[in-house]
């Protein structure tokens, strides 16, 4: 009989969460959460940390409608884990963020600069958000993004709300 496999990816609409089965430990030590559950309870474009390693973080972003422009001082990487997302990139005329800063910063209004291009990304697609540039997201529906970045002024920490505690 030929092998047939079904690969299971979660989504906002359908996910099943695992968990920590404690033998002799505290479940908080594993900071166990689920990206889709976090996105379900997030505001559009809120940057909720689901992982942290010293200054580095992974943020879950619920992409819905159009985001503000953001400028990043270092490379960031946006992985779409559900839905479809358009990413616009802009090369600003003037630096929008201190190059030694960490994490991206929001920009008021439309920054001056040269359009670099855009990416139409679907589930599983990973996009470079280059250092020193600006970007904004747009989703006609709701998409979920996992962002590889550094803790910044807009990173939201709510471990007690998103993680398994007992």
């Amino acid at each position: 009989m030929p092998e047939q496999y079904t690969t299971v990816f979660g989504s906002l609409g359908q996910y099943e969460k695992g968990g920590v089965e404690v033998i002799n430990d505290n479940p908080k030590h594993y900071a166990f959460s689920n990206m889709f559950e976090v996105a379900s309870g997030a505001k559009p474009y809120e940057k909720v940390a689901v992982a942290k390693n010293l200054e580095y973080v992974l943020e879950v972003i619920r992409a819905e409608g159009t985001s503000e422009w953001r400028a990043t001082p270092h490379d960031e990487f946006a992985l779409v884990v559900d839905g479809s997302l358009e990413i616009e990139l802009l090369d600003p005329t003037q630096p929008l963020v201190d190059q030694d800063a960490s994490g991206s910063v929001g920009i008021d209004g439309e920054p001056a600069g040269s359009p670099m291009g855009r990416v139409q990304a679907g589930r599983g697609h990973m996009t470079l958000l280059p250092a020193g540039k600006a970007y904004r997201f747009h989703s006609d529906g709701v998409a979920v993004v996992l962002l590889q970045t550094i803790e910044g002024p807009d990173t939201v920490f709510r471990w007690a709300d998103i993680c398994q505690t007992v």
């Binding site: 099943e16 992982a51 580095y56 960031e76 990139l89 670099m116 139409q120 679907g122 697609h125 920490f157």
Partner: protein
């Protein structure tokens, strides 16, 4: 201190020795000896462990081959031990530890892997995708055991960095990921920005992985490294952490046994399903079980400051406090 090797034994395999350790294999087993004891392991388990230790250059922290034998990376030099993280061995004072120059132990393992891996057997492959490791010496599989580990400088697909995978480049879609969409993102770059507007399908890339349990770097935000890997069957090593490590389950399911790093006492089981995120604290060891090939994003902090922080007790044991 230098590695030595003998002429082939009755099964056709060389014996190797480095420092106080000697290694010999027969048709089914490896036998390891050291000044205070000896140990045997199934040769399949041994080759799968040595293969990861070689490919990862001893990785982060401790690589336990089983409950007795393993290595501990000090980043420049490495310990090989027997019973060091086994309470019974330590209590009986028959545990043994020896420090080696990184290249010396790596050289011994590479020579062993080349000599002991038979034609048709691939230690990186899932059991259902490879031939047998057992029996007398028959040829080699150097092409498989010397695979280069992917380490992207910035991101896979960026011009000048690691390329995406395709049939043409020798990476067919794995049988367990035949249903994974292969569509790539639509990129529209303005003139002059073609090299900076970059995107690729990570899921399609992973669906074409030809190895299991082998985290490889696909993107780097300074020292923050995305090391996704495809997992099937059992993680051959029991990884003892020396720093906090994070897992993001991208597809399917993996169940992890988590034990105390130093004693092996059971601490937890962590069941991860698609979308789940979990940390592995810095004082545990873990081994994963994947019944169906799955995509796991291993997230590491590759900071060179961490070994010093570990030595000074400054690196956090737990990922976050709340």
């Amino acid at each position: 201190m230098t590695m030595t090797e003998t002429a082939p034994n009755a099964s056709g395999y060389k014996d190797f020795s480095v420092g106080g350790f000697t290694f010999s294999r027969d048709e089914y087993f490896v036998t390891v000896t050291w000044p205070t004891g000896s140990h045997q392991m199934d040769i399949v388990q041994w080759l799968r462990c040595v293969q990861r230790d070689v490919a990862w250059e001893f990785f982060y922290g401790i690589i336990n081959f089983d409950e007795v034998i393993g290595t501990m990376n000090h980043y420049g030099n490495v310990d090989m031990f027997a019973g060091r993280f086994n309470e019974a061995y330590r209590r009986a004072e028959v545990d043994y530890n020896e420090n080696f120059d990184h290249d010396e132990l790596l050289g011994c393992f590479k020579a062993m892997l080349s000599d002991w891996t038979n034609e048709g057997y691939d230690p990186f492959a899932a059991p259902m995708e490879t031939g047998s490791a057992y029996g007398t010496s028959q040829g080699d599989n150097d092409k498989a055991v010397t695979r280069k580990r992917v380490v992207a400088e910035r991101m896979v697909s960026v011009p000048g960095d690691e390329p995406i995978r395709s049939d043409e480049s020798g990476f067919p879609i794995n049988r367990a990921f035949a249903d994974v969409h292969q569509d790539e993102p639509v990129i529209t770059a303005e003139p002059g920005y073609e090299d900076q507007v970059c995107s690729f399908s990570l899921y399609a890339y992973l669906s074409r992985s030809d190895v299991t349990w082998n985290p490889s770097v696909v993107s780097a935000c300074k020292e923050s490294l995305y090391c996704p890997t495809t997992e099937e069957f059992i993680l051959p090593v029991i990884h003892g952490n020396d720093r906090v490590e994070w897992f993001v389950q991208l597809s399917d399911e993996i169940q992890w046994d988590v034990e105390d790093r130093d004693t092996g006492a059971k601490r937890a089981r962590v069941v991860m399903k698609a979308g789940d995120v979990a940390a592995m604290p810095a004082d545990i060891r873990h081994q994963g079980y994947a019944p169906k090939r799955s995509m796991l994003l291993v997230w590491e902090n590759g900071s060179p400051r961490i070994p010093e922080m570990i030595a000074n007790g400054e690196a956090p044991v737990r990922p976050v406090d709340f």
